[in-house]
Every structure is written in C-alpha cells, then in structure tokens.
Symmetry: C3
Subunit: 209 residues, 3 copies
C-alpha cells in the first residue's frame, strides 16, 4: 500500500523530469506529454516485455496515464510563471530512481531467481525511461555520457538489497535499505560531483565499417 503510493509519486516525478527535458528542446504540448509518458513508463514497460509479464503495468492499471498527463501539464503551467526548481527536482529524481530500481528488482524476483537478471532488470526499470527520453530527443543518453553515478547507484543498491536478503534479512527491510543506498549514492554523486572514469578513444578512420 505504501509502496503503491510511492510508485505513483515516482511516476509523477519522472513525468515532470521528462516534461522539463522536452521544454529545453522546444517541443509542442503533445510532444511534452509524449516525452513525459515515455520517461515515466519506459523502464517498467521494457522490463515487463523482456520478462513476458503481461499485461504491461500501465495497461493493467491505467491510472498511471492521467497522473502522468496531469504532472506534465502542471509542469508546463508552473514553468510559465516560475523558474523550475532544479535542485529539488534532482532530489526527487534520485528518490524516483531508488524506488523504481528496487520495485523493479522485486517484480523480477517473482518470476526469475537469477541474481544477475534481477540486477539487470531493476536497473532497466530505474533507468530505461530516461534513456528512451534522450533517444527521442536525439541526444546521447545522459546516463551513458556524463560519468555521474546514476545507473551505477541502482546497480550497487540492488546488489545490497539482494545480499541482505541472502544473509537472512526480511524483504521489506532489505528493500528499504537498498533504496536508501541508491538514493544516498546518487545524492552524494550530485553534491560532490562523483564521476566514473571516461573511456576515450581517438577516432580512427580506418576503422569505419
């Protein structure tokens, strides 16, 4: 029940982040709504399709769609009058990432017991929406590019969640600690600018395909 409420908040937060990204690219109103929908539902949809878990979560429970629509339109209205609160949004986005990753991992555990698959699917649930958003906006996904700890935070948090269960902690506690790890790592990365090393290769024309 608490989880369901948190999930609705997570969806709304991701919808807002999608709408703001769309605004930076000067899309029209419909484009804003589409990007908000894709950002908020993309990760869970990809997880459900890969796991053959039908109906897909937002088809089974269409309440997500009006929430996303509302969040996107409120964002547009708000941004007409005020400066968007970037800092609080980053914090909300970190909470959304934490929530989606661990909920995605839990959903996966119900159908697949391989630890590596649980980690991959939880990470996809938390991050694929943002990747799709960037692909539709014709950018290299932020996730891949900037070196900040984003998917890495999800991977570490889900691993902690699995380890805690493995040593005997009850699932709800393990989940809560896992979420704290994801959100904590992500916020630490934002505050102190933590980055992963960059792999840089000079372009070699002889390698053209």
């Amino acid at each position: 029940m608490v989880l369901y409420g948190l999930e609705l908040i997570g969806v709304a937060v991701f919808a807002v982040s999608g709408a703001l990204a769309a605004g930076r690219k000067q899309l029209d109103l419909l484009g804003v709504v589409v990007i908000a929908l894709v950002t908020a539902t993309g990760g869970g949809t990809l997880r459900d399709i890969l796991l053959d878990s039908h109906p897909v979560f937002w088809i089974e429970n269409p309440v997500y769609l009006p929430i996303i629509l509302g969040a996107a339109l409120l964002t547009v209205g708000y941004a007409k009058f005020f400066k968007p609160p970037h800092r609080s949004l980053l914090i909300a986005d970190a909470l959304g990432l934490a929530l989606f990753s661990i909920v995605g991992a839990q959903t996966t555990q119900q159908v697949n017991s391989s630890a590596i698959i649980v980690v991959v699917m939880g990470t996809i649930t938390g991050t694929a929406g943002g990747v799709l958003r960037d692909v539709l906006l014709a950018d290299i996904p932020v996730l891949l590019r900037r070196g900040r700890i984003y998917a890495t935070a999800a991977i570490v948090g889900i691993s902690v969640y699995l380890c805690l269960q493995w040593i005997g902690l009850m699932q709800p506690w393990a989940a809560m600690i896992g979420m704290i790890v994801v959100a904590g790592l992500r916020l630490a990365a934002i505050i102190w600018g933590l980055m992963l090393p960059i792999f840089s290769l000079s372009d070699d024309p002889s390698s053209s395909n």
Copy 2:
C-alpha cells in the same frame, strides 16, 4: 474486406513516406528498404507487442513485406525521373494516419476495454512508425517537434469514434466517422498551418544530470 484493402494501401503509403525520408538523408538502397519497413510496420508492431497479441501482424500475414519492398523500390525508381509529388503524399499520409489509428483502436478493443488504453494504442498504431523512422535517421521526431496537428488528430478522432459507439452508433459507422475526423483535422492543419503551442524552456546548465 474493404478494411483489409485499405490497410494494404495504408502500409504502401507509409512505405513511400519512409523511402522519401531515407532519400533526403542519402541512405543506400538497403537503408531505404529498412526505413520503409520500419515506418510502415513500426506502429502496429509496437501495439501488438505491448498488447501481447501474437503473432505480430506482419509475421501472421507476411504479404505486407513484399508490398512494402515494392513500394520502396518504386519510390526510388520514380524519384530518379520525376519530382516526388509532396502535396499528394501529404494527403495520402493523412489517409494512412486516419486508417491506422482507427484500425489500431478496433484491434485494441478486442482485447482491452479501457477507453484510455484504446486511445493510446490507436495513436501508437498511427504514429509510432514515423517516430521510429525519425529516431533511426537521428532526428527529433517530427511528431514531437513541429507543433502541427498530427498525433492530436489521431487522439481526437479515436475519442470521437469511442463516444459515437458509447451513444449507440454501430461500430462500422463510428469507425468511418472517426477516420473522417482524423483525416479532416490533419488536412485542415496542413492547409491552414494549425499548430499546437510550443513549450520552450531556456537551458539551465545547473540542471545537468
């Protein structure tokens, strides 16, 4: 039967529009065929995967594939000698959009009765092929960017189609009127340059992820 014939025409029209877009980016012959295939089948394929409705329509009935191949190659041959008829293509594309949206809505009604899901799936059927085409060509999808009435026409037409059924009209009539609404709105938007408002947000470097 009439519907099936219309659907084959719709597929061919979308294949032509894909081939022309590919030509503007100087792709090779295979690239033209691939883009034509993706444009013509992308929307229906995404709908079938999301609804878990297998086999996907072009796997169940592979006749679509040679039609798309033929339409793409004819387009290349034609464009070698004549100027492509952009105006008539826009009209054909509007008819294709009308047809695919309403047929997609009808297909969805057979497996899901939620009105919002029917609208979303019909719109995906009509527009996702063009979005995939633009993503493969590394553009921000036209659909999201230009502010012309495109997906909006599909959304309005499908809603009209559902309302008419709800007040008791028989499905074939509701479908025909729905298609006329989609095509009419889209053509009106082309003729008078109707646009949705743009949501423009200045880029804020502090918001970087």
Copy 3:
C-alpha cells in the same frame, strides 16, 4: 555444442565492437558496458520478442552477461596500452555477423516456416544490435548509411541457406555454407570497398510535415 561455443565467441566479438564504438564517443565505464550489452544482445532480444519466444535467450541463459562484461572491460584495459586491432576486429565482426544471422534463421525456423520471415528474423538477429548501438550513440546507423555490404550479406547468405535446404541438403551443411557466404561477401566488401547505390533526394522544404 560447436554452435554454442561459436555463439559465445560471437557475443564476445560484438561486445568488443560495442565497447570500441563507446570509446570513440567518450562514454564513461558504465556507458561502455551498456553499449557492449546492447550491441551483443540487441539482435537476438528483438528476434525473441517479435517471435514471442520467451524467455529471451540471455534471460534463459545468463552466462552471456558476464562474458559481455568481461569482453567490454578487457577492451577498455587493452586500449589503454595498445592500439586496437581494427583490421582483425573487422574480420571477427564479419564472422559474428555470419554466425548470428544463420543461428537466428535456424531459431526462427523452429517456430515459423515462412521463408520471408526467416530471412527477416535472421537479418534482425545479425544486425539489430549494431543498429541499437548507433541509435544510443545518436548516430544514423552505419548499416543504413555507408552503403557497404552488411545486412545485404546476411540476406544473401540466409537465402542461400534456405535454397540449399529446399533442394535437399542437410541443415548443418546448408548452415555452414550459408555462414561462409555471409562472411565471404562481407569480407569481399571490406577488401574491395563494394557498395550499394545511394538514394539521394534533395531536401524540399514544402514537404515538411
């Protein structure tokens, strides 16, 4: 058994090619791993989803994932000290393409007997990973653009494989000859710079959507 070993090598080769492409775009370590994963698993994943063949191959047998991770990290380490061996990589990539295309065709034959579907699915298995890699890197896929014989080699080789079976050759022999045709065509295209004709259309602003 031999096939399974070859498949593991194919996955590793595609992971290396993904990691090198990521390095050319200066992604971070996680981005390199994600691009390697997508390049190596994308084609087979899309095939399995389109054919509703679940579990998807890497979910059924998660051993692919650590192999891809290892190949990507070795590539990063190697490239720190040595010049990447572009020429040998192109050869390895041609072998990977040959292998994936024919294996994809064989997998498809088990669930669908239409020749055109077998050719399409085999080609998707061999090439879609590279297309997804390029989409994530915000490039027009090399496959569509450069005019070199790549997907074309897969299409021809799979067709040869099907024809040989049709005239009565046993499947393993037909598969081997099919692979030799794919790899041979691709290597010939690299060595002699064979290309498909380009379809070039001037941009017409009146055609804007």
